[in-house]
Amino acid sequence: MAEIEKVDYWRWTESNWRNPEIADVTGCLLTAGVDIGSTSTQAVVLADGVPFVYSNMRTGNNSPDSAINAMNWALKDTGLKTEDIEYTIGTGYGRVNVPFSNKNVTEITCHARGANYIYGPTIRTILDMGGQDCKAIHCDEKGAVTSFMMNDKCAAGTGRGMEVIANLLAVRVEDIGELSFKVDEEPDPVSSTCVIFAKSEATKLMREGWTKEKVLAAYCHAMALRVVRLLERNGMEPDFAITGGIAKNMGVVKRIERIMNVKALEPTMDTQIAGAVGAALIAKDLVEKKRAKA
């Protein structure tokens, strides 16, 4: 019997990057941030505060290994080793499990700082849509958090919820956004209180003859509504930007923009690395403070 090809539709593309404008980091202050999220792990190395290398990969079942793997992949072909980095900050839910970190800081603080770097000092409201939670963060011109709010207890409205739907509908997670716009009319949202309810509702809609695109539109709509409530509760002040994996899903981003009547700033780099960038910047601040004191 022919073997049925098994496709993991939820698998998003891992990546690594090296800054083509930095050839040599000799004499530079190297600081790093490692963001171990529930779903993805990023390692970012800054050279004198400028992104030098980064990696973005799926979190395995072992946080210390994820941190090591992400850092090794980021440093690949640079001739650098983890020990060459002066200060490393761990962040994300696995922040205490980064074996080579000097300190850990919450992802809320790091995302605000990272967004300030990626989007500029005018950023005031950040929506971080991560693997298993989402956060509305308000920050000042320096990227310091002034208030925040997190979703409660459910993966609905998060990356993991999107992965579940990708697998259910056999659609690559990266294609969901685009497909969700291929509908004549925006459908009502599915349940947004629980990812399991949303899944069973999507199954029911498929049985009723809805197209995949229409179900995806209903799901993206629900996800947008859910996070909009969080944004409204914490207060929306422009400029506004979205970080995290879901920021790459235009099906959700555009719907949030439409519902809130606000335009999210365009990212200048991978939105998933905001937390790790923020961590690396905080690391740089700490080293400089320490040096100034010495």
Binding site: V105, T106, I108, T109, A144, V145, T146, F148, D152, K153
Partner: protein, 373 residues
Amino acid sequence: MSYEKLFDATVCTESAKAWRASGKKAVGTVCCHVPYEIIYAAGVLPVRLRATGCVDSSDAESWMSSFSCSYARSILQYLMNGTYELDGLIQTDGCMMPTRIFDNWEHVSKKQGKDQFCYQIGAPRITKDITIKYYKNELQGLADALSKLSGTAVTDAGLKAAVEKYNEIRELVAQLNELRKAEKPVVSGAEALAIMIKFGDYTPDEYIALLKEFLADAKNRKPIEGRARLMVIGSALDNPDYLKVIEEKGGLIVAEDNCFGERNFGEKIVVDDNDVLGSIASYYLGRNTCPRSLDNRPAIHKEIIEKAKAYGVQGIIYAKMQNCECWGGEAYYLEPALKEVGIPMLQVEREEQMANAGQLAIRAEAFVEMLDK
């Protein structure tokens, strides 16, 4: 040091057992509107019920919906599973949830073949002369029923002696909380809450002795440092471990505002010799213990802000029990008031069972980072 047992938050019923073994009665109470003095004046031991450490309320869930308050449900669980073996239950219509404890316990205790003194007091939600008069009548009814239960008449002299006893406790608890105003207090928020919830585990005399012993030794304790001075407010909170999670993340809880903390004690009662019961009624109904009342929101907010200032609080954690009708929507009104005076607020939702310690920890840690710039 025997006061160390004040830090063990586990529900301990040894004192109530001993009290009952001597032929006297002991009853559980729920809500800050049940005056301990009346119960004590009848020779009955009031036991403020709490559900600390309850990890499974499935028996109670057969009677109370899972959409009810988990604190109330857990109290019912402790009554049902015999954690509390008492002679009855006294409560007010403080909110709808205690009334469900009452209804269900009245029914379930009969099914269990237990002879229980179950008494409910109507506590008006507006404080004015006519409602104080009504409440006083309710308290008179309670006093009469308790006299019948114990065989000890509730007299003015008995009430005054009880007021004196509980005023002494109030004074000692005030001294405990005064320690928390220091830049580096010698008592953490979790420890202070543990001490205050133990009030329900002992007779007044035992509790007074333990408090005195603790206060006498307080100067020998190590000062505690935190990254941010916090105040925790909101629904009934009888679990010091909850505060411990916050303090382990760098917060130092120097004040709280909930019905198991300072609000359970309050200022001393001043008795008018011509109307002793009336004095107790005015005191208990006039206190701004919780937003159940219709006319005390500005007063509660003012008290919270004044307290925050007095204790040098940098941020407030608003911990709301899921399905709490009293504190459910209060944040919408309180947050702008706090913003006006520059005190940031973090909202968290909780349940009696500590199922979300991780979620609390990340929020608390980020809040501390935000305050500790």
